[in-house]
Symmetry: C2
């Protein structure tokens, strides 16, 4: 299949880092109307490097939706089944947003900047329009906007050493899913211990896009001996880590219970939220399908453009693969997908229909064990 080159125009929002980040990118996509590099050397080379060293990622595409005003917390609570009543400034929380039917709108990280000021650092859908529509329609007393705040991510085992050379504060004082306000080279930043990899790291939220290249260069200047390189969210690492990708692994047509996102919240929070009735009905009735991890031995399977069907021997039931890739470390394919809830046990054998044939795999636990080896 032909692969066209990505064309740019003003319609795609400009990353403040793109003059640096696009230079070596082999492939890219568009995410929240912003270019997102998807591979540099190759998926596999990028993967090994990420696990051993530290990478600088242009994730400007993780744009912010800012909610401020007297009803900011009330509206934030209204958007998600997760209890935000104890959130404090400096804290991040992963918050699935759902609609009136409990369909997943997006799965941002919320940052509490002040008791009445929040950022939703979003995955790929126009949450601005959703939140504005709800706020205007239901009369919340808030301002909703998408300020020019763009994250730069430092990921990998050497990210802590790298960051310690750049900020005055002790890096170890930044706890997981917490942030501080600091500066690098005089550039004010929000720095959070978060990031879309399994290798640890930080996200630097830049509020002045004109400083993007200077920030990038300041980071790169102190990273040579750490083997710092440009990188991007890596398909192999994120599947191995079990990070769900909105649009790939769950959409508006999935609810957070079947997608397994209910591990991030308890049912029955006090505050009012949209979709409560629907979500409680789903919780009571149980979901017919469930997201599981899949291991498929053999030749590398390409991540699906279309949906690969999952079948079970002696059963008319089926499921589908949502993400899959070859793990050069585990020497098998690792993936995620939905299967009927009564076929979701670890070790269950299944077949997957690929464009060029059928392969056999098993349902795995979160460490990719199938109980069969």
């Amino acid at each position: 299949m032909n692969t066209p080159v990505l064309s740019l125009s003003r319609r795609l929002r400009k990353s403040p880092f793109e003059a640096r980040s696009h230079a070596g990118a082999a492939t890219a996509s568009v995410y929240n109307h912003v270019v997102l590099p998807t591979a540099y050397a190759s998926l596999e080379e990028d993967y090994w490097h990420l696990r051993e060293h530290v990478q600088i990622w242009d994730v400007a595409c993780q744009i912010q939706v800012e909610i401020t005003g007297p009803d900011a917390l009330k509206l934030a609570e209204y958007l998600t089944p997760r209890d935000l009543s104890n959130i404090v400034p400096g804290q991040c929380m992963y918050v699935p947003l759902i609609d009136e039917r409990a369909g997943i709108i997006n799965d941002p990280i919320i940052l509490c900047l002040a008791p009445n000021r929040f950022w939703l650092s979003i995955s790929d859908s126009d949450v601005l329009l959703w939140v504005k529509g709800l706020a205007v329609g239901a009369g919340f007393d808030v301002e909703v906007s998408d300020p020019d705040v763009f994250p730069l991510s430092l990921q990998g085992p050497k990210s802590e050493t790298l960051l310690s050379r750049l900020i005055e504060e002790p890096v170890e004082d930044i706890r997981f899913f917490r942030f501080i306000e600091t500066q690098i080279a005089g550039i004010p930043l929000v720095v959070a211990r978060t990031g879309w990899s399994g290798q640890g790291g930080f996200e630097l939220y830049l509020s002045d896009p004109s400083e993007g290249e200077r920030l990038w260069d300041a980071v790169v200047a102190v990273g040579a001996d750490l083997n710092l390189r440009p990188g991007c969210p890596n398909l192999i690492d994120r599947i191995e880590t079990g990070l769900l990708s909105h649009g790939n692994d769950m959409t508006l047509h999935n609810n957070p219970i079947e997608s397994g996102l209910d591990r991030f919240f308890k049912m029955g929070k006090a505050a009012d939220y949209l979709g409560r009735d629907a979500l409680e009905r789903i919780a009571d009735a149980g979901c017919p399908q469930k997201m599981v991890r899949l291991v498929v031995p053999g030749d590398p399977v390409r991540n699906p453009r279309e949906t690969y069907l999952i079948s079970f021997a002696g059963s008319g039931l089926d499921g589908c693969v949502t993400s899959i890739t070859y793990s050069p470390r585990l020497k098998c394919n690792v993936g995620m997908g939905y299967v009927p809830s009564d076929h979701a046990e670890i070790g269950t054998e299944l077949t997957i229909t690929l464009p060029d044939g059928v392969v056999t795999g098993r349902i795995a636990d979160k460490d990719w064990r199938t109980g069969k080896n």
Copy 2:
């Protein structure tokens, strides 16, 4: 600058035509989470071909937001300052959607399928989330969804001849901005005399994605002697035609009066709509800036990735270019942009700051005349 290849995954919604349309595409972008080819042979070759022959375009990215139910018309009216009270089944209208501050959310074509059933055929923003948010928040009695309905476009002077070979109904009976329900090769379609070019044509709305390739092939099978080729919305043609591109020429930060979209509606419609107060205040006060057409003689100017500044001699005021390209037919650059309203007269001289220097141009009328030649 390096240009990465576009990478695909399930996150990007699948066009039913992409197995055909991606094959010869040199460049592409992402629009409404769907791949949109942006050039085949080259912008210029595609342009000349479009003006002389007929092209088949994969514009599946013009996805539909469907509104059905007892309040469907009331909600549609609420979204736009344009009066929809006389819309009838079979009719299309261009409807700028605005927010509470009269900022432009999107500029879809609305199709009236039945008195209580509409499609918004949208430009690049998640109108689904906006309309759902408003409907849920304000309690409209409607269903809002984005069904798997994808347009295929036939554009160019020979499009009428081409379509006449494919449908039983007389093509000339389909008036401008009207549609019929018909079929091609047994595939049910909505066929409208619309399309994002200045050369005339039709859009075929396919409701069964599994028929996409068969529909494409059925069209191609009867087009050889008309020199039918795959194509896509062409930058040169769309600027020459004065078609505004949401995201390029207007955003949420523009209102429809300064963008010139007020020529599509009269102020003061009877039905309630969001943003009325803001829009009336803007209409009363007048806009400080106005969208104009620009002619720039000399070497070809590339369409901006960043915003090119417009300046006026002896004035501290400035403006910006939103779209520009070289017209091989007019042998000059043609573009669009915002200028101060008191510097918007046809023929006004201006300078544009490009990445590699400053060029001089003039404000032009809709036929690209500046009154100076």
